[in-house]
């Protein structure tokens, strides 16, 4: 029992001390270095996702990406588009 407490506490404290290591991270936010003023509109990214057959729920800016929330075949996806050229940089299945 005490060992379990110790393990849980240690895990929590350890995580809080070292912080999340970027190497293992799956938070995606780097898509372009182009300045924001040159970005294409977010609606174009949504249109691109629609063209791929996704039901688009929403889009938002995540770091230097357009993150599009799309549903296809009952599955959930986060699509990351580069605002510079609307290239699909990363697809994350939820």
């Amino acid at each position: 029992m005490k060992a379990l407490f110790g393990a849980l506490l240690g895990l929590g404290l350890g995580l809080s001390l070292i912080g999340p290591s970027p190497a293992l991270a799956d938070g995606f936010k780097n898509c372009t270095k182009a300045p924001k003023t040159s970005w294409k509109p977010a609606s174009d990214a949504e249109a691109a996702a629609k063209a791929l057959g996704y039901e688009v729920r929403r889009s938002k800016i995540e770091g230097s990406c357009y993150e599009v929330y799309g549903v296809k075949g009952g599955k959930l996806f986060e699509l990351f588009y580069s605002p510079e050229d609307l290239k699909l940089v990363h697809t994350k299945a939820k």
């Binding site: 995580l15 809080s16 999340p20 799956d26 009952g74």
Partner: protein, 173 residues
């Protein structure tokens, strides 16, 4: 050596520390490690359901509906606490009970709204996302106050309350 009495039973202690660990882990993995974040959230949700059951099935100190006092009692207690008068409670004092309820409720809102975000129905829903963010911030803020208040009560009552949540025992005196 005065007699020790078991206040926090094993399941309750396990729930307490599992929830604490889940909250910490979920906080530090948000937007970074989705899988770990989701496991921590589900764990918290399971603990919250068990804690609700333990409020019925547990011992008298686990019964939150017995410990919860009206707002003026809580305010009076906080006022006295700031003057250094805490009294001594084997279970939760009025402020502690209010904090427990606030923490459990905000953790419930946080974990349920987080789970909703990965259901097909609410995926991408901005409103749910906002509720999740705010309730999660609230959980962490309350948890910080909870820890500080427990440490303050330790000093004022000259009693190691953290150890009591590990061993479950308090001295009768």
């Amino acid at each position: 050596m005065p007699a020790a009495v078991l206040v926090w039973d094993r399941p309750l202690r396990l729930m307490h520390w599992t929830l604490a660990a889940s909250v910490l882990i979920a906080w530090f993995t948000a937007n970074v490690f989705d899988t770990v974040h989701e496991i921590a959230g589900y764990t918290a949700l399971v603990v919250l359901v068990l804690r609700l059951l333990w409020s019925i099935a547990g011992n008298r100190y686990a019964r939150l509906h017995n410990a919860v006092r009206p707002p003026w009692v809580i305010l009076n207690y906080l006022r006295r606490m700031l003057r250094g008068e805490t009294g001594r409670y084997l279970g939760l004092n009025p402020a502690g009970a209010a904090m427990a309820v606030a923490l459990l409720l905000s953790a419930a809102v946080s974990s349920i709204s987080g789970w909703m975000q990965i259901t097909e129905r609410y995926f991408g829903n901005e409103w749910v996302e906002r509720v999740h963010t705010w309730s999660s911030n609230l959980v962490l803020g309350l948890a910080a106050i909870h820890v500080l208040a427990v440490l303050l009560a330790c000093v004022l009552q000259k009693e190691n309350l953290v150890r009591a949540m590990i061993t479950g025992k308090k001295q009768l005196r």
